[in-house]
């Protein structure tokens, strides 16, 4: 088991936390934990972006596979559906 210390924040930056995560966690795991811990609206869907690499983290890929490292910032972005 290996852990990384990252900063997770919401896209509007009203919520931010420094956390230790196992690198086996997936993008979907991080989003679910953010929704649960911050009581984010459950009628919205979210996507995860590493602002450090400038790349999205797909829901089923792990932090390890995305080469997330200590100090990286992960942003929880809403998936917008209205048009």
């Amino acid at each position: 088991m290996s852990e990384v210390n990252v900063i997770i924040r919401t896209a509007d930056q009203t919520r931010k936390a420094e956390v230790s995560l196992d690198i086996s966690n997936t993008g979907a795991d991080v989003i679910q934990a953010s929704v649960d811990n911050w009581s984010l609206p459950t009628d919205t869907d979210y996507s995860l972006v590493s602002t450090s690499s400038g790349k999205t983290i797909t829901p089923n890929s792990t932090l390890g596979k995305n080469e997330i490292k200590d100090g990286d910032i992960l942003e929880v972005q809403p998936v917008l559906v209205a048009g």
């Binding site: 979907a28 869907d45 996507s47 972006v49 790349k55 998936v79 917008l80 559906v81």
Partner: protein, 371 residues
């Protein structure tokens, strides 16, 4: 073309009015963002805009729709938008499609655009449009808004393979949310109430501008080889630009082979239809098909099933209630994958109720658009 109209554009060193005039776009969805995108493309002086929408104008649309007036309430959105665009610039070739793009937009037509701009308001339509663009290699710009954020996603499918698609990053919760609208897989729930997302002209105009700017980028620069997303917080001005990563488990692009060939064919099931395939090979239909149904109380034997073989989206959940015993005991069979053997044995002479069928053979995906 009256060149005086575009005189100011000609002073911009990076702007080629000739290239813009030679370009063509489809705008899918003529709501708040669709209005802004169509208006911007028109004022830029593009050559052709095709507008698609099945919906009609409601009074509450007017706070976000620059092309609509109070007197337009009740009229089709695409028709009214087309008329107003023609007033803005009569030089533009405008085509209006007052219906569902899935029924009206052929794969050949999709391929003819420089870019398709997705301005719809639901996941299902986005997934379908993504499929069309992925198959035909047509550039796609997806847009989305809420009351605060603007989002656009650029998928330069024309530049080649290995471009992430819309579904690569779609969260599992989005699929779960879509399924809540249906019962038994793909039957529309008659009691489902769609959640309305409030938006303002601020986010729709911001999104429309970014979408049109990136559509222009796609025609003047064909060297974009990765999909990207721009998210802007309209309150703070904070924005994030990210590269959209491809997913090896994507339900849309990961199932496509490196080579995609597109053909047209009759929807009627005949044995000579599938000459290149073995009887055991499978085809996938673009639309889930309601194959049959049976009340397990009134007709306990499976052989007594009523054969339907129609597009499942034409039916709603009321079909699961038996007309005879009036209980919810009707089993329905909905499929989107069939063996050739099964199709010929059970459905010969019938028409496949789908936009296209797909089959994979070694390193090639073949799409047959059904006529």
């Amino acid at each position: 073309m009256n060149i005086d109209r575009y005189q100011r554009h000609s002073l911009i060193d990076w702007f080629s009015q000739d290239d813009v005039k030679a370009s063509s776009f489809a705008v899918i969805g003529c709501g708040a963002v669709g209005n802004e995108v169509a208006k911007n493309l028109a004022l830029l002086g593009v050559g052709r805009i095709d507008l698609f929408d099945f919906d009609t104008i409601e009074i509450h649309n007017l706070t976000r729709s620059v092309l609509f007036r109070e007197s337009d309430v009740g009229l089709n959105k695409a028709e009214v938008a087309g008329k107003r665009i023609k007033e803005l610039d009569p030089n533009i070739d405008i085509n209006v499609y007052s219906g569902d793009f899935w029924d009206l937009l052929s794969l050949e037509q999709a391929k003819s655009y420089d870019c398709i701009l997705c301005c719809v308001d639901n996941f299902e339509a986005r997934i379908k449009l993504n499929q069309i663009c992925l198959i035909t290699g047509t550039n796609l710009i997806n847009t989305g808004i809420d009351s605060k954020f603007s989002q656009i996603e650029i998928f330069p499918f024309k530049s080649g393979k290995y471009i992430a698609c819309y579904e690569c990053n779609l969260p599992n919760s989005a699929y779960e949310r879509m399924q809540k609208r249906y019962s038994c897989g793909w039957l529309k729930k008659i009691s489902f109430i769609e959640k309305k997302i409030p938006t303002t002209i601020i986010t729709s105009s911001l999104t429309g501008s970014l979408a049109a700017a990136n559509a222009l980028n796609l025609i003047k620069d064909d060297s974009q080889h990765s999909a990207k997303r721009i998210l802007i917080d309209s309150f703070t001005g904070n924005s994030t630009l990210s590269t959209i990563e491809q997913s090896c488990t994507c339900p849309a692009c990961s199932v496509m082979a490196d080579h995609i060939s597109i053909a047209k064919g009759s929807a009627k099931i005949e044995s000579n239809h599938f000459l290149d395939l073995n009887e055991a090979d499978n085809i996938t239909t673009s639309d889930p098909i309601l194959v049959s149904y049976r009340c397990v109380e009134c007709n306990p034997n499976e052989e007594d099933s009523t054969k339907v073989f129609q597009c499942a989206s034409k039916y709603d959940s009321s079909i699961t209630t038996c007309n005879t015993c009036e209980t919810d005991s009707v089993d329905v069979t909905i499929k989107d994958s069939f063996s050739i053997d099964e199709l010929i044995a059970d459905f010969a002479g019938m028409e496949i109720p789908a936009k296209f069928i797909r089959f994979d053979n070694k390193d090639r995906t073949t799409i047959i658009e059904l006529e």
